[in-house]
Homo-oligomer: 308 residues x 4
């Protein structure tokens, strides 16, 4: 268990406010540089490209028990073989969707969370209004392309999937990296696999929601020390749920998004990637996950890709 | 002007039905292979990554004059610094959007268009129903990562932007490739710049819509011969609008999507890329544009990235 | 149990096709006339006006187990005390909603159901397309104002609410009318109370869905013989669910909507009305339930009102 | 022209705060009583019922030039003759809509406008949040049934329609009532016709928006003195646009909604009603316009009905 005082100490330890200049909105994404991209390019061997996204569909993970209004995508048709002109020979089909930006696989923007009225970089929380995020919005990310590394904690533990309530610690991340022969470097993006998404695949939406395995509070410092540019998991909440911090529902959200300015990814699917990495022992790859550039959005749907 | 008979002849010339097996749904994306990806990786020098997307916002290009119901994205908030738990110190913001899948920068899925009741690969048009595309949907694309090439026709013509009604021909594409020193190879993705998006940037939505410069009908054969995996333009309709084919509104859509099975990209923004390529004379790059995997979707929003 | 043959016989018995002229789209709503309205006006004594609608909210009856895409209303804000002009003294708030037309209290339009490819009045089912109902749409209803009668079957049975699976028969309707001293006349609208909505009020959405008490198949002939202009219940499906007709999921829907052209109302709330009627023994009233005039809509949300 | 000081004086003159008790949320709707309803019932002679609503459709009055995000209704299909069960003989069609609550014919809720941080009855403006209106929401209206009166200013002026910029004054309302032989009484609802909606019918959306004829600032006192329960016009803004008050965009909104607590109706269509009233000289009727009960909504769509 982590007390509020301990949490506050951690906040101070990982805080990046001011690190990248007065106008910074990109946080640890600033760590992505030519070197980290080069590492990503150099990691490609077979050229295999894998999508790490959930499908976008009505049967997604949003069963109504989470954030009010976070529904699954409702996609309907604007045209179904509708004639393009007077001659019906040529026809078009077209669709429209209603969807929360964080319904399925997505990045949290840095404006997604505030703590005591402040967001990352000491931006006032009221920069988010009915019009969305005037600062720290998802469209400030720009291209997200760098080296990705898979930290397969389920595999480390010899489990198909980690059980609900399993706390992934900095020690686990170290062990995964060591076993995979990876030296984690600034600008890398860390993909932390728990296998928990198997419950979603099996149709157990309730089980997928909670309790979940997930990142524990000490991983914030680990990400900080290694200069990780962003991190993602195959769970709905990124971090351990319920958290081991009596006074906070999602302490790691505050540490990562508000203090470090580090984007979090949720609902990633690492199952196929895990099998591929295990098969040839290569756990690094070129990783691309540029969000749709919603003006003022506090999150962004993605279809992340690992190129091996 | 192209007659219907000439058009039908062209259809036969570029048709790829059956080329990639009985169950194929990916068309020319099958041409992306290890070699094309390698070319893309090899093209990276500076590591500069550029987004080629329009922003997603209420002030987009859909002014209601196009396909009925194709509105601009309406993004609203589900939470605005809403307390996460009993203690309001930690708070979240969250949003939801209504948007056509083809509202801004996107790929057309192969199910987007039918011709005489058939889609690509002779799939019956009624595979698209109220439930969407049971075949040839956007989620069959998978990762789209390969070499991209910029064919900067506006620059070739010495124009800031090509005027409305300017037909881009195969000869223009050849000239662009030659001038840039590019040998177009199977699996490349061709980005054809007209500069027309400048009208959108200037707020002239009506002018952006029509008339547009765009790809002429003979470019289909050019794409076919060079094994281009997909093509995209910086206009709303991809092809010349109005087309020079009295009996067809969008003939190139039929040729590319239905006959070749070649994805088309629209509303790409090549302005920054054009400047970068012109500055150092390098017109090839690693290109990534994996669509959000909407189940049964007939199109998919993307944030395409060029890594130079 | 009703066999398919018996069902087909019933169809022939209640069919109104052609009864109101070649171009009719309003079915039994044609029975509303000056006399029925007069009866409604004459029934008003105390002037008490009661709403019979469910609230429209995220916590509605659509839990995802019904028709795919029938979600609960998601209402979000377009403005929250947003300044109207340069001076922020005057400010506006404004909202937008995503909602199925049949999410809560509503009328089914006559185009909602087809049987063997035909709708009411022998209109071809394909009059409903991606653009909606070209014929028999909800906006053809026009004003719905006439005498309403409450047939309180739960009260007749001495029950707070009828249990799931309870079939309301023509005999029950006769008994309710007799006990209430009502002579049912052409143009009346019949409100049939089961009390089942109490499960919704208690938060038991699943129980509210199925099994339900509801109108049995023989009530179609009763409505037909009495010239009822429309009928409504306080359940999600109007009719008994599951139905006692092995080959049909919703046989009464076919009889009422397709054969008779009689609008059905669902998810009405009669609890307060029932108490008021029981208190003074008056079961007739002026009834108003004009749907929002959605062009081409197959259903229409309403806030029905009884004026006593 | 009205100065800010004059406006403030008017505010004090018409203010109803506290008039109907400490918990009041219904403002002047409280004036609807048995007597006003009786007047409405007594006004019915022929039994003719007329809808006063615009159709709800994609081609509505919201062209994007007004409040950001106020789009026209986008209605799409969830089912198109989709089989109900294993046997496809019975099939359903179903639809879903995205629409602003104030897109077409509607009531403004009392929470729609605030003035210097306060809403009607001194409720703090921050009762409206991302969750909507915790107080003064549209679902507090309940049934709206009373006597309606048509004040046909266009007819008074001998015009088909009043020109843009025409200010309807208290004197006009008096003259209309006098000519029609109406004694305006507490609880009546006033429908003020300008004929301006003819521009909408003619497809001139821009002209429909602005400039409009409309209610001038002195009508607030007129409504107040006569105890009008609500008022509506056949324009988009209810009041004169642009207003003659240099410092305020919509001064009558503040007077009616915030000070008086009087609901305003917009985009009503009085054309058919005007012809009917002129034909037999009867300008009073039973009026019903109960909004859909959106929880926390700041406005509500309606299909108002006049029964003559």
């Amino acid at each position: 268990m982590t007390t509020l005082a301990e949490f506050e100490t951690l906040c101070g330890k990982v805080r990046n406010w001011g690190r990248w200049g007065a106008d910074d909105q990109r946080g640890t994404l600033n760590l992505i540089d030519r070197a980290s991209l080069r590492r990503g390019l150099a990691a490609v061997e077979t050229g295999e490209a894998l999508s790490l996204s959930m499908p976008l569909q009505l049967k997604g993970p949003q069963d109504g028990s989470g954030i009010p209004g976070r529904i699954n995508p409702v996609r309907t048709m604007l045209g179904i073989n509708t004639p393009m002109g007077p001659d019906p020979a040529a026809a078009y089909s077209d669709d429209i969707v209603v969807m929360p930006l964080q319904a399925a696989t997505h990045w949290d923007a840095l404006s997604h969370v505030s703590w005591r009225g402040r967001m990352y970089h000491d931006v006032a929380a009221d920069a988010v209004s009915v019009a969305g995020a005037a600062r720290l919005a998802i469209d400030t990310f720009g291209p997200v392309v760098t080296r990705g590394i898979l930290l397969d904690v389920a595999r480390l533990e010899g489990a198909d999937r980690l059980p609900g309530g399993f706390e992934v610690t900095a020690a686990h991340l170290d062990a995964c990296a060591r076993d995979a022969g990876i030296e984690v470097r600034p600008g890398d993006i860390a993909l932390v696999r728990t296998g928990h998404i198997q419950l979603f695949h099996a149709g157990d939406i309730h089980g997928y929601h909670t309790p979940t395995p997930g990142l524990g509070i000490d991983t914030a410092a680990w990400f900080h020390e290694h200069g990780v540019a962003a991190a993602a998991t195959d769970t709905i909440a990124f971090e351990l749920l319920p958290a081991r911090c009596p006074e906070l529902v999602l302490p790691l959200h505050v540490l990562c998004l508000v203090m470090m300015g580090m984007p979090q990814g949720q609902n990633f699917d690492f199952e196929e990637l895990s099998r591929a990495c295990a098969a040839d022992g290569r756990y690094t790859f070129l990783f691309e996950a540029t969000p749709l550039p919603f003006r003022c959005g506090t999150g962004g749907p993605i279809n992340p890709v690992a190129v091996r």
